[in-house]
Amino acid sequence: MATAPLLTATSSGDALELRPAGSWTASNATTLERLSNDIVPQLDRAAAIKLDMAGVRELDTLGAWLLEKLSRRATSAGHRADIVGIADNYVGLIDEVRQVNRRTPAPAPARNPVVAKLDDIGRATIDAREDVAAFLQMLGALCIAILGILRRPRSLRLTSLTYQLYRVGWQAIPIVVLITFLIGAIIAQQGIFHFRKFGADSYVVDMVGILVLRELGVLIVAIMVAGRSGSAYTAELGSMKMREEIDALSTMGLDPVEVLMLPRILALICALPILSFIGAMAALYGGGLVAWFYGGMGPAIFLARLHEAVSVTHFEVGIIKAPFMALVIGIVACSEGLRVKGSAESLGKQTTTSVVKSIFLVIVLDGLFAVFFASIGM
């Protein structure tokens, strides 16, 4: 049915007669564009053109537009353009195409690159200020919700809290154990390998113990929770925002912070210390195994050295940080979720922002705690 398109041009004097033939449809798009471009120089020389459409077998918007463009080019140069021989079933299409692309919209004025850059920086600064404001606002709303709970303890949503605790705590245990176990093992292996040069193998236990209990255990677990649960919070709340579920909640006289965010953040605050503890134990276990099989240090010696090297203070320093990190992760995740706008792209962007921002803040917080604990001598 489809035949190859043709465009034959015969010039008589100043007049040019164009005879398109075959299928002028989108399936021949490339050929059609070439054909109509090739004819342009001839077209510009002719004083009048006549377009004889009798040979056209099939026509669609693309073909009709290309032919219309030819005739429009001739008329805009002040020449005469006649279209004849249109098959009845294509009259409507040709008429329709004649109406389109009449008015070209004014292009947006080009911006000075320096000004544009300054504009970007300015906007980024304002955004950063808004970030801080959003964080504080969420913290405030959370405090108010907690006060409300203290006044009416029954308004705490226990079902939701338990479910969230199950999701961010219980279900996270396997992956947390696996990763911290590996980290502990790797630190121990590296320590043994390098300390052996100084004959200081046994200090590996001190290093693994202090590092894991004070810093790494909680930090690694917090980063994993930010990636695992923080992103889930943002995506959940974001899609609830997109589907107006959050608006529905507030119109029913319920506070979304109390219903949605408080159980989530409280669950995170409960779960992170527990996960940090489990993680630290798994890391020590991993370190111990490597010390035994790679370093030749038996479990009894490892435990005895560990007993000497670490004190409860080290453990406290680590575990005290956990709830604060959980708070930061929760607040960032929830406030980013509420900033999702209508599109799928915005949901993805906000989820990424949430994870990046909470990991960054967790590390900054860890630094602040390090300074604090150093100054109080812990």
């Binding site: 989108a26 399936s27 537009w65 329709e96 799928a344 792209e345």
Partner: protein, 257 residues
């Protein structure tokens, strides 16, 4: 016989579709003639969208045959190739939210044809103007559009490749009566100019009455009545009677004098 086969755009024979044990479409047969606007009505959750999605190959079927423009639809490459011959307007528009309106319309062109950027822009603007929007709207993002505009852009995208068939899933749902009327008129005009076959799932009695050449009623997984609107109004099938003679449909009845 050859002549008869040529005159149908979609032929569905003995179609069975179900999810687990629940049969939604039960040995259904349906013919859509070339160049007509067919409206499909049915109860909510009664399988209208399932039928449409099965015809375009989104839902696997358990039995039966489907032919679109003379070529069978199966779950293979041929169906994907057939995708060039139809355009689909999803209920919510399903515009790609990360692309502008113009890029959305150009997307099928860009994927299927080799055209210069300038021509692609002109075609996109032409389609935009054909569905009654302005060239300036091309730079907007889908999240900035109103409901009616979203439907129009989705229609422009469905028409980007000048398909022979367009499937419309509740094109006028969520539009006010004026916008819905305009949209109906637009479908009718485009169907005439482009020679389209239109398969339309709708609940809008006004559009059934004004734009559809034939109406098919889907009940209990079968087409229980098909024909021009006035024939359906006289149908004796209980569900069809309830649908067209309910309180909301009183306005369609010829005034008894």
């Amino acid at each position: 016989m050859q002549e008869a086969a040529e005159s149908f755009a979609i032929r569905v024979r003995d179609l069975v579709v179900g999810f687990r044990r629940h049969v939604v479409i039960d040995h259904l047969a349906l013919d859509v003639r070339r160049g007509e606007i067919l409206g499909l009505v049915g109860a909510s959750g009664g399988g209208k969208s399932v039928l449409m999605r099965t015809i375009i190959g989104l839902i696997p079927r358990q039995g039966g045959e489907i032919e679109v423009m003379g070529s069978p639809i199966n779950h293979d490459r041929a169906t994907r190739a057939a995708a060039g011959r139809w355009g689909i307007l999803f209920q919510q528009g399903a515009l790609f939210s990360s692309l502008t309106v113009r890029q959305n319309i150009q997307f099928p062109l860009r994927e299927n044809l080799e055209l210069s950027d300038a021509l692609m822009d002109e075609i996109a603007t032409a389609k935009l103007e054909m569905v009654g929007l302005k060239a300036e709207d091309g730079d907007k993002f889908p999240s900035e559009l109103s409901g009616g505009m979203t439907k129009r852009v989705a229609l422009a995208r469905a028409l980007a490749l000048d398909p022979a068939i367009v499937f419309l899933d509740e094109p006028t749902s969520g539009l006010d009566p004026i916008a819905a009327g305009d949209f109906d008129a637009l479908i009718k005009t485009l169907q005439k100019t482009l020679g389209l076959t239109v398969f339309m799932v709708t609940h809008d009695l006004a559009s059934l009455n004004t734009v559809c050449d034939r109406v098919a009623a889907l009940a209990d997984g079968k087409i229980v009545a098909i024909g021009p609107m006035r024939e359906l109004l006289q149908s004796e099938h209980p569900w069809v009677r309830a649908y067209f003679h309910g309180k909301r449909s009183q306005m369609l009845q010829p005034k008894a004098s």
